[in-house]
C-alpha cells in the first residue's frame, strides 16, 4: 500500500486547471471589488494558509500516511474503535489543602460523573520539601495537596478503590518518592499491584525548560526517571510512569510545532537512557504517555494531535526499532488552554474551553481536563469544576461527534496541514540532534531561550492587537468588571495541621533505622547502575518524610542552578 496515492494524475491535472480558471475569473473579480481583510493568513505557529485546499494539495501524500485507526502510523487514532468502544476519560485535576480536603473533592467529582482521578500537589511537595521547611512558607496546600509522608497518601485516597479507578499524579522532581508512597499504600491495602492503573507526570526535561520545578541538576533527574520507568514496568505494569508534557511548553510560550518537536526530543532522550540501561524498547514504550494542550487555533490544534501521532510512531519504529504496535501509539491526555482564559468577562471562558475541548476530541484524545471558568483567578470552585465536567459530557453525549473516527480525516486542508506540521517537526528534531541532543541543550538553556522569545513575540502580538482576546483587546466593555467571582477559599489551618502531623510521625518512628536507610540510599545514588526505587520504598515504609529523602540526595548530586535566560 506504500505507493498508493489518493488521486489519479489526470484528476489532479484537471483540478489544477479548473482552479487556475476560477482564480482568473470569479476570484479575481471578487478581490477587485472587495479585497480580503489580511494580506496573508497563517496558523498560530506561522504556517502559511491558502485560501482553499483541493485534492491537488494532498496529491503527494501516500495513503499509507493516513492508514487506519489503531494501526501504524496511527494518524487517524490510537485504537481501532476509538470513542465507539470507549469514550475518552473525563479527568479533572484537583488538589488543595490537606489530603482529606482533596479526598472530599474527589468524591464530589466521582459523583458528578468524572471517570478518572488526577492530583495536583502543592509546591513544597513538588519540590521535595516538607511542610515545615522554611522555603515552604505560605505555600502549603495552596496550589495543590500537601504530602509529607505515606500516611498523607493513605488519607488522600481514603475510601477510593485503587484497583478500580485510575489515578493520575501531577508530580515531577519528587515523582519517584510519591510513586513509592502510592505503591506502599496500595500494597498495605492488599491491592494487586498488577491491577493498579494511573499516570505520573515525571517528565524532568520539560521542567527545566517550562514548568520550572527542579531539585537536582539535569542528568541525575533523568536518571531518577529512568529508574522509575524500569521499576514500574516490572512492578506496576499498567501504570504510566511518565507523561511527556507538551502542555507546559505551550504554557510558557511555545507554539504548536515547538510543543510537539521539543516533547519528541525529550522522548528520544528518555528512550535512549532506558535502552542504554539494558531494557528492551518494547518492554517500556507501551507505557509512555503524553500530555498536550488544546489551544486556540482550532484546526492547527487538531492537526497537531494527528501529526504528533505520526511522528511518534515513526520515531519508535524507525529509530528505536520497536516491534509492538503498543510501543508506537501516542496516547494523550489533553487540557484546554489556561493561557487563553481571561479575568475580564470570565464567563466567556466557558465558550473558549468548550471549543478547545471539541478540538481535542476531533484530534482523538484519550482523556481530558477542561479548565474551570474561574481558572484565571484561583484554583476552581466546585461549581466551576461541575461546569467543566458538563462541557465534556455535552460534547460526548449530545452532539454526535463520537460516532465516526477521525471525522476530519481526508479533508484536503486537514491532511495538508497535518503533513506540513509533521515536516516542520522533523526539521526541528534534526536541528536538536545536530546541536548535540536534548539533554545537552536543556543544560545550555537553548530550549529556554526559544520559549522565552516565543512568549515575548506572543505578548507583542496581543499588545498590538494583532492577536485578539475578545473582551480584553477587542470589544472591551468599560462597564464589565472582573471581581464578582466566588473564589475557592484557602484553609489557614492547613499548614499547622501538616506540621503537627509531621512532628507526630517523626516522634513515633525508628529514627536510627531511617538514618541508616538514608545512608544506604546516598551510597546507591553514587553508582549510576543501581535502581533507587527499592530503597526509597523501604524508606517510605519506615515513615521517612518526602523532604528527608529528597534532601539526602542533594548531598550526592547538589542542586540545580538555572541559566538566567530572559
Amino acid at each position: 500500500m506504500d505507493d498508493v496515492t489518493l488521486f489519479s494524475q489526470q484528476a489532479i491535472d484537471d483540478i489544477r486547471q479548473n482552479q487556475a480558471e476560477w482564480e482568473g475569473g470569479a476570484l479575481a473579480a471578487t478581490l477587485k471589488s472587495r479585497p480580503e481583510e489580511k494580506q496573508t493568513y497563517e496558523t498560530e505557529s506561522g504556517i502559511p494558509l491558502k485560501r482553499i485546499y483541493t485534492a491537488a494539495d494532498i496529491a503527494d501524500i501516500p495513503a499509507s500516511e493516513l492508514g487506519f485507526p489503531g494501526a501504524y502510523p496511527f494518524t487517524r487514532g490510537v485504537y481501532p474503535t476509538m470513542y465507539r468502544g470507549r469514550p475518552w476519560t473525563i479527568r479533572q485535576v484537583a488538589g488543595f489543602g490537606n489530603p482529606e480536603a482533596t479526598n472530599q473533592r474527589y468524591k464530589y467529582m466521582i459523583q458528578t460523573g468524572q471517570t478518572g482521578l488526577s492530583t495536583d500537589f502543592d509546591l513544597p511537595t513538588l519540590l521535595g520539601l516538607d511542610s515545615d521547611d522554611p522555603m515552604a512558607f505560605g505555600e502549603v496546600g495552596r496550589v495543590g495537596v500537601a504530602i509529607d509522608t505515606v500516611d498523607d497518601v493513605e488519607r488522600l485516597f481514603d475510601g477510593i478503590d485503587l484497583e478500580k479507578i485510575s489515578v493520575s499524579l501531577t508530580i515531577n522532581p519528587s515523582a519517584w518518592v510519591i510513586y513509592a508512597m502510592f505503591v506502599t499504600v496500595a500494597e498495605e491495602r492488599g491491592c494487586d499491584l498488577h491491577k493498579l492503573t494511573g499516570t505520573l507526570q515525571a517528565d524532568p526535561l520539560k521542567e527545566y525548560v517550562a514548568q520550572k520545578e527542579w531539585i537536582y541538576p539535569v542528568r541525575p533527574a533523568v536518571r531518577l526517571l529512568r529508574d522509575l520507568i524500569m521499576y514500574s514496568a516490572r512492578t506496576t505494569p499498567k501504570i504510566n510512569p511518565v507523561s511527556l508534557s507538551g502542555y507546559h511548553l505551550s504554557d510558557v510560550g511555545g507554539n504548536a510545532l515547538q510543543e510537539i518537536a521539543f516533547t519528541m526530543a525529550f522522548t528520544i532522550s528518555y528512550c535512549e537512557e532506558v535502552t542504554r540501561a539494558g531494557m528492551d524498547i518494547d518492554d517500556f514504550a507501551p507505557r509512555l504517555s503524553f500530555f498536550f494542550i488544546s489551544h486556540q487555533d482550532f484546526f492547527e490544534q487538531i492537526c497537531k494531535f494527528r501529526a504528533a501521532r505520526r511522528v511518534y510512531a515513526k520515531i519508535m519504529s524507525e529509530r528505536f526499532n520497536a516491534r509492538k504496535p503498543e510501543s508506537m501509539r501516542l496516547r494523550v491526555h489533553v487540557q484546554t488552554a489556561a493561557m487563553s482564559l481571561t479575568k475580564v468577562e470570565h464567563h466567556n471562558n466557558l465558550m473558549r474551553t468548550a471549543i478547545q475541548a471539541l478540538g481535542a476530541v476531533l484530534g482523538g484524545c484519550q482523556s481530558m481536563h477542561t479548565n474551570g471558568l474561574d481558572e484565571a483567578f484561583a484554583i476552581p470552585t466546585e461549581e466551576a469544576m461541575k461546569l467543566a465536567i458538563r462541557t465534556q459530557q455535552i460534547i460526548r453525549e449530545e452532539i454526535n461527534v463520537t460516532s465516526v473516527i477521525d471525522p476530519l480525516g481526508g479533508s484536503y486542508f486537514i491532511e495538508r496541514l497535518t503533513k506540513d506540521m509533521e515536516d516542520e517537526v522533523w526539521k526541528m528534531l534534526d536541528e536538536i540532534q545536530e546541536r548535540g541532543g536534548a539533554i545537552k541543550l536543556v543544560e545550555e538553556g537553548w530550549f529556554q531561550q526559544k520559549l522565552a522569545d516565543s512568549a515575548y513575540a506572543t505578548f507583542k502580538k496581543i499588545d498590538s492587537g494583532e492577536k485578539i482576546s475578545v473582551g480584553v483587546n477587542k470589544y472591551a466593555d468599560a462597564a464589565s468588571r472582573s471581581a464578582d467571582v466566588h473564589i475557592h477559599p484557602y484553609d489557614d489551618h492547613c499548614t499547622q495541621l501538616q506540621i503537627d502531623r509531621l512532628r507526630a510521625v517523626r516522634e513515633n518512628r525508628d529514627d536510627a533505622r531511617i538514618q541508616s536507610l538514608l545512608k544506604e540510599l546516598v551510597e546507591q545514588a553514587r553508582s549510576d547502575d543501581i535502581n533507587l526505587l527499592p530503597k526509597t520504598i523501604e524508606l517510605v515504609r519506615a515513615k521517612a518524610t518526602l523532604g528527608e529523602i529528597c534532601s539526602a540526595l542533594r548531598e550526592v548530586w547538589g542542586s540545580y542552578s538555572e541559566p538566567m535566560i530572559v
Binding site: 513544597p124 505560605g138 484561583a378 499588545d463 472582573s482 538566567m564 530572559v566
Partner: protein, 153 residues
C-alpha cells in the same frame, strides 16, 4: 542573554530610548512559584522602555530579594506571583524592606492576584498592582509614575 554567574541576569537598557534610562528595576519571583513566563516578558518590556532591569530567577525568599534589591540599588521591585501565596509573601517582603531600612524601594505586584486581595497587599506596603491583562504601556507607566511621585533618591 544567558548568565549562570552572579545573582541574576542584568539586562542592559536599550540604547534607543533614554527617557527612563535611570530607572532600575528588580524583576523577581518569590517562594516556590515556577511560572516565570510573565516575569520574563515584563523584564523585556521594561528593558525595551529603556529601564535597567535585573532578573533574580526562581525560588527566592523575600529576604533574598530584598538583599538583591539593596545590592543592585534599584528603584523598584516588581514581583510576579501565580501561586496564590501572594499575601503572605508580599507581607514578608515589605516587612524585610522596612527591617533593612529600604522602604524607599517601591514594590509592584503582578501575576494572578484576585481583586479581593488588593486591599491586603496595599495595606502591607505594596505600592501598585498591575492586572494580568495589562498592556506594555500600562506596565511601564505604572513604574514611571511611581518613581516620579516618590522622586529620585
Amino acid at each position: 542573554m544567558a548568565d549562570t554567574k552572579g545573582a541574576g541576569a542584568v539586562i542592559e537598557a536599550n540604547e534607543a530610548s533614554h527617557t527612563n534610562a535611570t530607572i532600575r528595576v528588580l524583576v523577581a519571583k518569590l517562594g516556590l512559584d515556577g511560572h516565570d513566563r510573565g516575569a520574563k516578558v515584563v523584564a523585556r518590556i521594561l528593558r525595551d522602555a529603556g529601564m535597567e532591569v535585573v532578573y533574580t530567577g526562581l525560588y527566592k525568599s523575600p529576604k533574598d530579594v530584598v538583599q538583591a534589591a539593596i545590592q543592585e540599588d534599584v528603584d523598584v521591585i516588581g514581583v510576579s506571583l501565580l501561586s496564590g501565596s501572594h499575601v503572605p509573601l508580599f507581607r514578608e517582603l515589605c516587612r524585610c524592606l522596612r527591617e533593612e531600612g529600604a522602604e524607599h524601594v517601591l514594590v509592584v505586584a503582578g501575576g494572578v492576584i484576585p481583586e479581593q486581595d488588593y486591599p491586603a497587599l496595599l495595606e502591607c506596603g505594596v505600592d501598585a498592582i498591575v492586572p494580568q491583562e495589562a498592556r506594555a504601556g500600562l506596565i511601564v507607566t505604572a513604574i514611571t509614575d511611581l518613581v516620579a511621585a516618590r522622586g529620585r533618591i
